[in-house]
Amino acid sequence: MAPPANRRSGFSRRAQYSTFLHYAAGFIGAVVGLILLVVSIVNPDAFSILRGAASDVTESPAQVVAQGRGASQNFITTVAGFFKTGSQHARLERELAEAKLRLVETQAIRLENARLKQLMNLHEDDAQPVAYARMVGSTASSTRRFATLGAGRDRGVAKGMPVRSHMGLVGRVLEVGASSARVLLVTDTESVVPVRRARDGVPAFAQGVGDGTIRLRLLNLGLNPLRPGDVMVTSGSGGLYRPGTPIAVVAQLLRDGAIARVLSNPSDTDYVVVEKAWAPPPPPPLPVVDAKSRKR
Protein backbone atom coordinates (compact mmCIF):
# COMPACT_ATOMS: atom_id res chain seq x y z
CA MET A 1 0.00 0.00 0.00
CA ALA A 2 1.36 3.38 -0.96
CA PRO A 3 1.81 5.95 1.79
CA PRO A 4 -1.07 8.41 2.05
CA ALA A 5 -0.87 11.16 -0.53
CA ASN A 6 -1.87 13.91 1.85
CA ARG A 7 1.68 13.93 3.18
CA ARG A 8 2.72 16.08 0.22
CA SER A 9 1.74 19.61 0.92
CA GLY A 10 1.80 20.67 -2.75
CA PHE A 11 1.24 24.34 -3.49
CA SER A 12 -1.09 24.97 -0.59
CA ARG A 13 0.52 27.50 1.70
CA ARG A 14 -1.62 26.38 4.60
CA ALA A 15 -0.60 22.73 4.22
CA GLN A 16 3.06 23.71 3.87
CA TYR A 17 2.96 25.80 7.03
CA SER A 18 1.18 23.14 9.04
CA THR A 19 3.71 20.47 7.95
CA PHE A 20 6.55 22.79 8.87
CA LEU A 21 5.01 23.65 12.24
CA HIS A 22 4.48 19.98 13.04
CA TYR A 23 8.12 19.22 12.36
CA ALA A 24 9.24 22.26 14.32
CA ALA A 25 7.10 21.12 17.27
CA GLY A 26 8.66 17.67 17.05
CA PHE A 27 12.15 19.15 17.15
CA ILE A 28 11.20 21.40 20.07
CA GLY A 29 10.01 18.26 21.91
CA ALA A 30 13.38 16.63 21.34
CA VAL A 31 15.24 19.74 22.50
CA VAL A 32 13.11 20.01 25.66
CA GLY A 33 13.83 16.33 26.31
CA LEU A 34 17.54 16.92 25.97
CA ILE A 35 17.41 19.85 28.41
CA LEU A 36 15.38 17.82 30.94
CA LEU A 37 17.86 14.98 30.56
CA VAL A 38 20.86 17.19 31.22
CA VAL A 39 19.15 18.67 34.28
CA SER A 40 18.29 15.24 35.68
CA ILE A 41 21.82 13.90 35.07
CA VAL A 42 23.41 16.92 36.77
CA ASN A 43 20.90 16.89 39.63
CA PRO A 44 19.25 13.44 39.99
CA ASP A 45 16.85 14.70 42.68
CA ALA A 46 15.48 17.51 40.50
CA PHE A 47 12.29 15.69 39.52
CA SER A 48 11.83 13.53 42.61
CA ILE A 49 8.78 15.56 43.71
CA LEU A 50 7.09 14.93 40.35
CA ARG A 51 7.95 11.23 40.51
CA GLY A 52 6.69 11.02 44.09
CA ALA A 53 3.42 12.68 43.12
CA ALA A 54 3.00 10.32 40.18
CA SER A 55 3.54 7.22 42.28
CA ASP A 56 1.20 8.62 44.97
CA VAL A 57 -1.53 9.02 42.35
CA THR A 58 -1.13 5.49 41.02
CA GLU A 59 -0.55 3.91 44.42
CA SER A 60 -4.10 2.79 45.18
CA PRO A 61 -4.73 0.99 41.84
CA ALA A 62 -1.24 -0.50 42.13
CA GLN A 63 -2.18 -1.87 45.57
CA VAL A 64 -5.17 -3.63 44.02
CA VAL A 65 -3.03 -5.12 41.25
CA ALA A 66 -0.44 -6.18 43.84
CA GLN A 67 -3.15 -8.06 45.74
CA GLY A 68 -4.15 -9.86 42.58
CA ARG A 69 -0.51 -10.65 41.88
CA GLY A 70 -0.12 -12.17 45.34
CA ALA A 71 -3.30 -14.20 44.93
CA SER A 72 -2.23 -15.62 41.57
CA GLN A 73 1.19 -16.53 42.99
CA ASN A 74 -0.51 -18.34 45.87
CA PHE A 75 -2.69 -20.22 43.39
CA ILE A 76 0.30 -21.37 41.33
CA THR A 77 2.15 -22.41 44.49
CA THR A 78 -0.85 -24.41 45.66
CA VAL A 79 -1.15 -26.29 42.38
CA ALA A 80 2.60 -26.94 42.24
CA GLY A 81 2.56 -28.10 45.86
CA PHE A 82 -0.10 -30.67 45.06
CA PHE A 83 2.28 -32.44 42.69
CA LYS A 84 5.37 -32.21 44.88
CA THR A 85 3.79 -33.10 48.19
CA GLY A 86 5.19 -36.64 48.60
CA SER A 87 8.87 -35.95 48.04
CA GLN A 88 8.59 -32.67 49.93
CA HIS A 89 7.10 -34.40 52.94
CA ALA A 90 9.97 -36.91 53.09
CA ARG A 91 12.55 -34.13 52.77
CA LEU A 92 10.90 -32.01 55.45
CA GLU A 93 10.87 -34.94 57.90
CA ARG A 94 14.60 -35.42 57.33
CA GLU A 95 15.25 -31.72 57.79
CA LEU A 96 13.10 -31.59 60.92
CA ALA A 97 15.16 -34.30 62.56
CA GLU A 98 18.32 -32.35 61.80
CA ALA A 99 16.79 -29.09 62.94
CA LYS A 100 15.79 -30.53 66.31
CA LEU A 101 19.44 -31.36 66.97
CA ARG A 102 20.53 -27.92 65.84
CA LEU A 103 17.93 -26.26 68.03
CA VAL A 104 19.43 -27.74 71.15
CA GLU A 105 22.87 -26.54 70.11
CA THR A 106 21.51 -23.07 69.34
CA GLN A 107 19.86 -22.77 72.73
CA ALA A 108 23.17 -23.54 74.39
CA ILE A 109 24.93 -20.98 72.24
CA ARG A 110 22.30 -18.35 72.95
CA LEU A 111 22.70 -18.82 76.68
CA GLU A 112 26.45 -18.51 76.37
CA ASN A 113 26.04 -15.44 74.20
CA ALA A 114 23.84 -13.74 76.75
CA ARG A 115 26.31 -14.57 79.49
CA LEU A 116 29.25 -13.19 77.51
CA LYS A 117 27.36 -10.03 76.62
CA GLN A 118 26.52 -9.51 80.26
CA LEU A 119 30.15 -9.96 81.03
CA MET A 120 31.14 -7.29 78.52
CA ASN A 121 28.29 -4.98 79.56
CA LEU A 122 26.78 -4.84 76.11
CA HIS A 123 23.06 -4.32 75.74
CA GLU A 124 21.05 -5.35 72.73
CA ASP A 125 19.27 -2.79 70.60
CA ASP A 126 16.59 -4.45 68.61
CA ALA A 127 15.69 -3.33 65.12
CA GLN A 128 12.67 -1.10 65.49
CA PRO A 129 10.66 -1.44 62.30
CA VAL A 130 9.33 1.85 60.97
CA ALA A 131 6.65 0.39 58.74
CA TYR A 132 5.37 -2.79 57.14
CA ALA A 133 4.33 -2.24 53.56
CA ARG A 134 3.67 -3.96 50.31
CA MET A 135 5.85 -3.62 47.24
CA VAL A 136 3.34 -2.32 44.72
CA GLY A 137 5.37 -1.86 41.58
CA SER A 138 8.74 -1.84 39.93
CA THR A 139 10.50 -0.59 36.83
CA ALA A 140 10.16 -3.90 35.00
CA SER A 141 11.01 -2.50 31.58
CA SER A 142 14.08 -0.44 32.48
CA THR A 143 17.69 -1.37 33.16
CA ARG A 144 17.42 0.42 36.52
CA ARG A 145 16.03 -1.57 39.42
CA PHE A 146 13.62 0.57 41.38
CA ALA A 147 10.54 -0.63 43.22
CA THR A 148 7.60 1.32 44.57
CA LEU A 149 6.63 0.83 48.19
CA GLY A 150 3.07 1.33 49.38
CA ALA A 151 4.07 3.51 52.31
CA GLY A 152 5.52 6.98 52.39
CA ARG A 153 5.86 10.02 54.61
CA ASP A 154 2.45 9.23 56.11
CA ARG A 155 3.92 6.20 57.85
CA GLY A 156 7.27 7.61 58.82
CA VAL A 157 9.35 6.36 55.93
CA ALA A 158 12.34 8.60 55.26
CA LYS A 159 15.10 8.75 52.71
CA GLY A 160 17.96 6.28 53.25
CA MET A 161 16.09 3.75 55.38
CA PRO A 162 16.98 0.11 54.66
CA VAL A 163 14.19 -2.17 53.44
CA ARG A 164 14.19 -5.90 54.15
CA SER A 165 11.91 -8.88 53.90
CA HIS A 166 11.83 -11.95 56.11
CA MET A 167 14.34 -13.53 53.71
CA GLY A 168 16.93 -10.77 53.61
CA LEU A 169 17.88 -7.30 52.49
CA VAL A 170 15.78 -5.84 49.66
CA GLY A 171 17.19 -2.35 49.21
CA ARG A 172 17.01 1.16 50.57
CA VAL A 173 14.58 4.04 50.29
CA LEU A 174 15.64 6.53 47.64
CA GLU A 175 12.76 8.98 47.30
CA VAL A 176 9.73 9.46 49.53
CA GLY A 177 6.29 10.64 48.46
CA ALA A 178 3.21 11.30 50.56
CA SER A 179 1.91 7.72 50.49
CA SER A 180 4.51 5.87 48.46
CA ALA A 181 8.27 5.58 48.32
CA ARG A 182 10.82 4.58 45.72
CA VAL A 183 13.24 1.84 46.72
CA LEU A 184 16.64 1.20 45.16
CA LEU A 185 16.88 -2.60 45.05
CA VAL A 186 20.17 -4.31 45.88
CA THR A 187 20.27 -5.69 42.33
CA ASP A 188 20.58 -2.20 40.82
CA THR A 189 24.01 -1.38 39.45
CA GLU A 190 24.16 1.79 41.55
CA SER A 191 23.58 -0.06 44.83
CA VAL A 192 26.76 -1.01 46.72
CA VAL A 193 26.36 -2.83 50.04
CA PRO A 194 29.28 -3.64 52.36
CA VAL A 195 29.01 -7.35 53.23
CA ARG A 196 30.93 -10.11 54.95
CA ARG A 197 30.80 -13.86 54.80
CA ALA A 198 28.43 -15.08 57.53
CA ARG A 199 30.77 -17.89 58.60
CA ASP A 200 34.05 -16.05 59.17
CA GLY A 201 33.63 -12.43 58.14
CA VAL A 202 35.58 -12.23 54.86
CA PRO A 203 34.77 -8.64 53.83
CA ALA A 204 33.47 -7.71 50.38
CA PHE A 205 31.29 -5.27 48.49
CA ALA A 206 28.04 -6.43 46.91
CA GLN A 207 27.13 -4.51 43.78
CA GLY A 208 24.12 -5.25 41.58
CA VAL A 209 24.68 -6.45 38.02
CA GLY A 210 21.27 -5.43 36.72
CA ASP A 211 20.09 -8.89 35.67
CA GLY A 212 18.95 -10.07 39.11
CA THR A 213 22.32 -11.23 40.41
CA ILE A 214 24.89 -9.55 42.59
CA ARG A 215 28.61 -9.14 41.95
CA LEU A 216 30.76 -9.66 45.06
CA ARG A 217 34.09 -7.82 45.08
CA LEU A 218 36.53 -8.91 47.74
CA LEU A 219 38.34 -6.23 49.71
CA ASN A 220 41.49 -8.29 50.15
CA LEU A 221 43.03 -9.33 46.87
CA GLY A 222 44.80 -12.65 46.62
CA LEU A 223 43.44 -16.16 46.76
CA ASN A 224 39.69 -16.19 46.42
CA PRO A 225 38.38 -17.72 49.65
CA LEU A 226 34.73 -17.81 48.54
CA ARG A 227 33.02 -21.10 47.79
CA PRO A 228 29.66 -21.68 46.10
CA GLY A 229 26.96 -21.79 48.74
CA ASP A 230 28.56 -19.24 51.07
CA VAL A 231 26.00 -16.90 52.64
CA MET A 232 26.87 -13.21 52.66
CA VAL A 233 25.41 -10.89 55.29
CA THR A 234 25.63 -7.12 55.66
CA SER A 235 28.65 -6.00 57.66
CA GLY A 236 27.27 -2.71 58.95
CA SER A 237 30.19 -0.65 57.62
CA GLY A 238 29.01 2.77 56.59
CA GLY A 239 26.26 2.65 59.18
CA LEU A 240 23.32 2.28 56.84
CA TYR A 241 22.49 -1.42 56.94
CA ARG A 242 22.16 -3.27 60.23
CA PRO A 243 24.95 -5.88 60.49
CA GLY A 244 23.98 -9.50 60.01
CA THR A 245 21.11 -9.06 57.54
CA PRO A 246 21.42 -11.88 55.00
CA ILE A 247 21.65 -10.65 51.43
CA ALA A 248 22.97 -13.23 48.95
CA VAL A 249 24.36 -16.73 48.35
CA VAL A 250 27.50 -17.26 46.27
CA ALA A 251 26.62 -19.03 43.03
CA GLN A 252 29.59 -18.77 40.70
CA LEU A 253 33.22 -17.93 41.41
CA LEU A 254 35.18 -15.28 39.54
CA ARG A 255 38.88 -14.45 39.70
CA ASP A 256 38.48 -11.62 42.22
CA GLY A 257 35.07 -12.32 43.72
CA ALA A 258 31.89 -14.08 42.79
CA ILE A 259 28.44 -13.79 41.30
CA ALA A 260 25.80 -14.29 43.98
CA ARG A 261 22.08 -14.95 43.95
CA VAL A 262 19.89 -12.58 45.96
CA LEU A 263 18.21 -14.27 48.90
CA SER A 264 15.05 -12.18 48.99
CA ASN A 265 13.96 -12.32 45.38
CA PRO A 266 11.81 -9.21 44.93
CA SER A 267 9.30 -11.05 42.75
CA ASP A 268 8.50 -13.40 45.64
CA THR A 269 8.54 -10.63 48.22
CA ASP A 270 5.05 -9.61 49.26
CA TYR A 271 5.41 -7.53 52.40
CA VAL A 272 8.62 -5.80 53.42
CA VAL A 273 9.84 -4.09 56.57
CA VAL A 274 11.25 -0.59 56.54
CA GLU A 275 13.87 -0.18 59.27
CA LYS A 276 15.64 2.81 60.72
CA ALA A 277 19.11 3.46 59.36
CA TRP A 278 21.36 1.51 61.68
CA ALA A 279 23.74 4.18 62.97
CA PRO A 280 22.95 7.87 63.23
CA PRO A 281 24.64 10.03 60.61
CA PRO A 282 28.10 11.21 61.63
CA PRO A 283 28.11 14.47 63.63
CA PRO A 284 28.84 17.63 61.66
CA PRO A 285 32.49 18.74 61.69
CA LEU A 286 33.46 20.91 64.65
CA PRO A 287 33.05 24.64 63.97
CA VAL A 288 36.32 26.32 63.17
CA VAL A 289 37.20 28.74 65.93
CA ASP A 290 39.04 31.61 64.32
CA ALA A 291 41.84 33.43 66.03
CA LYS A 292 39.94 36.70 66.63
CA SER A 293 37.18 35.21 68.71
CA ARG A 294 39.69 33.26 70.73
CA LYS A 295 41.58 36.40 71.74
CA ARG A 296 38.54 38.00 73.34
Binding site: M1, A2, P3, P4, R7, H22, Y23, A25, G26, F27, I28, G29, A30, V32, G33, L34, L36, L37, S40, I41, P44, A46, F47, L50, R51, A54, S55, T58, P61, A62, V65, A66, R69, M135, V136, G137, S138, T139, A140, S141, S142, T143, R144, R145, F146, A147, T148, L185, T187, D188, T189, E190, V209, G210, D211, G212, N265, P266, S267, T269
Partner: protein, 182 residues
Protein backbone atom coordinates in the same frame (compact mmCIF):
# COMPACT_ATOMS: atom_id res chain seq x y z
CA UNK B 1 -32.92 -1.37 7.81
CA UNK B 2 -32.78 1.62 10.12
CA UNK B 3 -34.01 -0.22 13.21
CA UNK B 4 -32.40 -3.30 14.65
CA UNK B 5 -34.03 -5.23 17.44
CA UNK B 6 -31.80 -6.76 20.06
CA UNK B 7 -32.35 -10.13 21.75
CA UNK B 8 -33.57 -8.40 24.90
CA UNK B 9 -36.29 -6.61 22.98
CA UNK B 10 -34.87 -3.09 22.95
CA UNK B 11 -34.72 -1.43 19.60
CA UNK B 12 -31.57 0.44 18.67
CA UNK B 13 -30.95 2.68 15.78
CA UNK B 14 -28.00 1.55 13.69
CA UNK B 15 -27.55 4.22 11.08
CA UNK B 16 -27.25 7.93 11.69
CA UNK B 17 -24.67 7.43 14.45
CA UNK B 18 -21.17 8.76 14.75
CA UNK B 19 -18.16 7.99 16.95
CA UNK B 20 -17.74 10.02 20.11
CA UNK B 21 -15.29 12.86 19.57
CA UNK B 22 -13.86 12.49 23.08
CA UNK B 23 -13.18 8.76 22.70
CA UNK B 24 -11.81 9.19 19.19
CA UNK B 25 -9.29 11.81 20.23
CA UNK B 26 -8.39 10.62 23.74
CA UNK B 27 -8.07 6.87 23.27
CA UNK B 28 -4.62 6.87 21.59
CA UNK B 29 -3.19 9.01 24.38
CA UNK B 30 -4.79 6.87 27.08
CA UNK B 31 -3.50 3.61 25.61
CA UNK B 32 0.07 4.95 25.46
CA UNK B 33 -0.14 6.19 29.07
CA UNK B 34 -1.56 2.82 30.18
CA UNK B 35 1.29 1.12 28.33
CA UNK B 36 3.77 3.23 30.28
CA UNK B 37 2.23 2.51 33.69
CA UNK B 38 1.06 -1.11 33.43
CA UNK B 39 4.39 -3.02 33.11
CA UNK B 40 5.49 -1.76 36.53
CA UNK B 41 2.47 -3.30 38.18
CA UNK B 42 2.68 -6.76 36.65
CA UNK B 43 5.65 -8.00 38.64
CA UNK B 44 8.41 -6.80 40.94
CA UNK B 45 11.15 -7.60 38.47
CA UNK B 46 14.76 -8.20 39.45
CA UNK B 47 15.90 -7.87 35.84
CA UNK B 48 14.62 -5.92 32.83
CA UNK B 49 12.23 -8.47 31.32
CA UNK B 50 9.09 -6.67 30.19
CA UNK B 51 9.07 -4.74 26.91
CA UNK B 52 8.82 -0.93 27.12
CA UNK B 53 5.12 -1.13 26.38
CA UNK B 54 4.54 2.62 26.30
CA UNK B 55 7.07 3.09 23.52
CA UNK B 56 5.74 0.11 21.57
CA UNK B 57 2.16 1.42 21.69
CA UNK B 58 3.34 4.92 20.73
CA UNK B 59 5.23 3.48 17.77
CA UNK B 60 2.29 1.32 16.72
CA UNK B 61 -0.11 4.29 16.74
CA UNK B 62 2.30 6.34 14.65
CA UNK B 63 2.68 3.50 12.15
CA UNK B 64 -0.99 2.62 11.96
CA UNK B 65 -2.27 6.17 11.74
CA UNK B 66 0.49 8.63 10.92
CA UNK B 67 -0.58 12.08 12.00
CA UNK B 68 -3.19 11.00 14.52
CA UNK B 69 -0.78 11.63 17.36
CA UNK B 70 0.89 14.96 16.54
CA UNK B 71 4.65 15.21 16.08
CA UNK B 72 5.02 16.79 19.51
CA UNK B 73 3.17 13.93 21.23
CA UNK B 74 6.51 12.56 22.44
CA UNK B 75 6.83 15.53 24.79
CA UNK B 76 3.82 14.95 27.10
CA UNK B 77 3.66 11.17 26.64
CA UNK B 78 7.40 10.79 27.16
CA UNK B 79 7.13 12.83 30.36
CA UNK B 80 4.50 10.45 31.73
CA UNK B 81 6.66 7.48 30.76
CA UNK B 82 9.70 9.01 32.47
CA UNK B 83 7.78 9.35 35.72
CA UNK B 84 7.26 5.59 35.89
CA UNK B 85 10.07 4.03 33.87
CA UNK B 86 12.98 4.60 36.25
CA UNK B 87 15.16 6.11 33.54
CA UNK B 88 16.53 9.62 34.13
CA UNK B 89 13.76 12.20 33.60
CA UNK B 90 13.84 13.39 29.99
CA UNK B 91 15.03 10.14 28.39
CA UNK B 92 11.69 9.22 26.89
CA UNK B 93 10.86 12.85 26.01
CA UNK B 94 14.01 13.03 23.89
CA UNK B 95 13.96 9.52 22.42
CA UNK B 96 10.23 9.39 21.64
CA UNK B 97 10.36 12.77 19.87
CA UNK B 98 13.38 11.70 17.85
CA UNK B 99 11.74 8.34 17.06
CA UNK B 100 8.64 10.10 15.75
CA UNK B 101 10.74 12.32 13.46
CA UNK B 102 12.85 9.39 12.23
CA UNK B 103 9.77 7.23 11.61
CA UNK B 104 8.10 10.02 9.64
CA UNK B 105 11.20 10.44 7.48
CA UNK B 106 11.56 6.73 6.84
CA UNK B 107 7.92 6.42 5.87
CA UNK B 108 8.09 9.25 3.32
CA UNK B 109 11.08 7.56 1.70
CA UNK B 110 9.67 4.02 1.61
CA UNK B 111 7.67 3.52 -1.57
CA UNK B 112 5.41 0.85 -0.10
CA UNK B 113 4.15 -0.35 3.22
CA UNK B 114 3.53 -3.89 4.29
CA UNK B 115 3.73 -5.95 7.46
CA UNK B 116 7.36 -6.92 7.00
CA UNK B 117 8.75 -3.47 6.24
CA UNK B 118 6.79 -1.89 9.07
CA UNK B 119 8.04 -4.55 11.47
CA UNK B 120 11.65 -4.13 10.29
CA UNK B 121 11.50 -0.35 10.72
CA UNK B 122 10.00 -0.84 14.18
CA UNK B 123 12.69 -3.40 15.08
CA UNK B 124 15.38 -0.89 14.17
CA UNK B 125 13.75 1.82 16.28
CA UNK B 126 13.14 -0.52 19.24
CA UNK B 127 16.74 -1.75 19.34
CA UNK B 128 18.10 1.79 19.00
CA UNK B 129 15.73 2.99 21.73
CA UNK B 130 16.74 0.30 24.22
CA UNK B 131 20.46 0.66 23.62
CA UNK B 132 20.21 4.44 23.98
CA UNK B 133 18.12 4.04 27.17
CA UNK B 134 20.84 1.81 28.60
CA UNK B 135 23.52 4.31 27.58
CA UNK B 136 21.68 7.25 29.15
CA UNK B 137 21.02 5.29 32.37
CA UNK B 138 24.71 4.43 32.50
CA UNK B 139 25.72 8.08 32.06
CA UNK B 140 23.36 8.98 34.91
CA UNK B 141 24.97 6.64 37.42
CA UNK B 142 24.20 3.02 36.57
CA UNK B 143 26.84 0.62 35.26
CA UNK B 144 24.93 -2.15 33.50
CA UNK B 145 26.48 -4.14 30.67
CA UNK B 146 24.70 -4.41 27.34
CA UNK B 147 23.98 -8.14 27.68
CA UNK B 148 21.49 -7.24 30.44
CA UNK B 149 19.01 -5.97 27.82
CA UNK B 150 19.32 -8.85 25.29
CA UNK B 151 16.34 -10.83 26.64
CA UNK B 152 14.27 -7.66 26.76
CA UNK B 153 15.13 -6.70 23.18
CA UNK B 154 14.23 -10.21 22.02
CA UNK B 155 10.89 -10.15 23.83
CA UNK B 156 10.05 -6.63 22.61
CA UNK B 157 10.81 -7.39 18.97
CA UNK B 158 8.59 -10.48 19.00
CA UNK B 159 5.93 -8.70 21.04
CA UNK B 160 5.60 -5.75 18.67
CA UNK B 161 3.19 -7.33 16.11
CA UNK B 162 0.91 -8.23 19.02
CA UNK B 163 0.98 -4.60 20.16
CA UNK B 164 0.13 -3.66 16.58
CA UNK B 165 -2.95 -5.92 16.69
CA UNK B 166 -3.99 -4.41 20.00
CA UNK B 167 -3.63 -0.88 18.63
CA UNK B 168 -5.68 -1.86 15.56
CA UNK B 169 -8.37 -3.15 17.93
CA UNK B 170 -8.23 0.09 19.92
CA UNK B 171 -8.56 1.98 16.64
CA UNK B 172 -11.76 0.09 15.81
CA UNK B 173 -13.13 0.87 19.25
CA UNK B 174 -12.12 4.49 18.73
CA UNK B 175 -14.14 4.76 15.53
CA UNK B 176 -17.16 2.75 16.67
CA UNK B 177 -20.24 4.86 16.07
CA UNK B 178 -22.37 4.91 19.21
CA UNK B 179 -23.37 8.54 19.64
CA UNK B 180 -26.56 9.62 17.93
CA UNK B 181 -25.80 12.12 15.21
CA UNK B 182 -27.86 15.29 15.15
Amino acid sequence: MPLLSRPDGTVRQRINRRPSVIVASALPWLTVIAGSIMPGWLLIASAPVLPPLGFLVFLAWRQLRPGLLPMWAGLPLGMVDDLFSGAPFGTAVLLWSVAAIVLDNVETRLPWRNFLTEWLVAIGLIIAYMVLCLGIANIAGAAAFIDVIFPQVFISVLFYPLVGRFVALADRVRLTAFVAAR
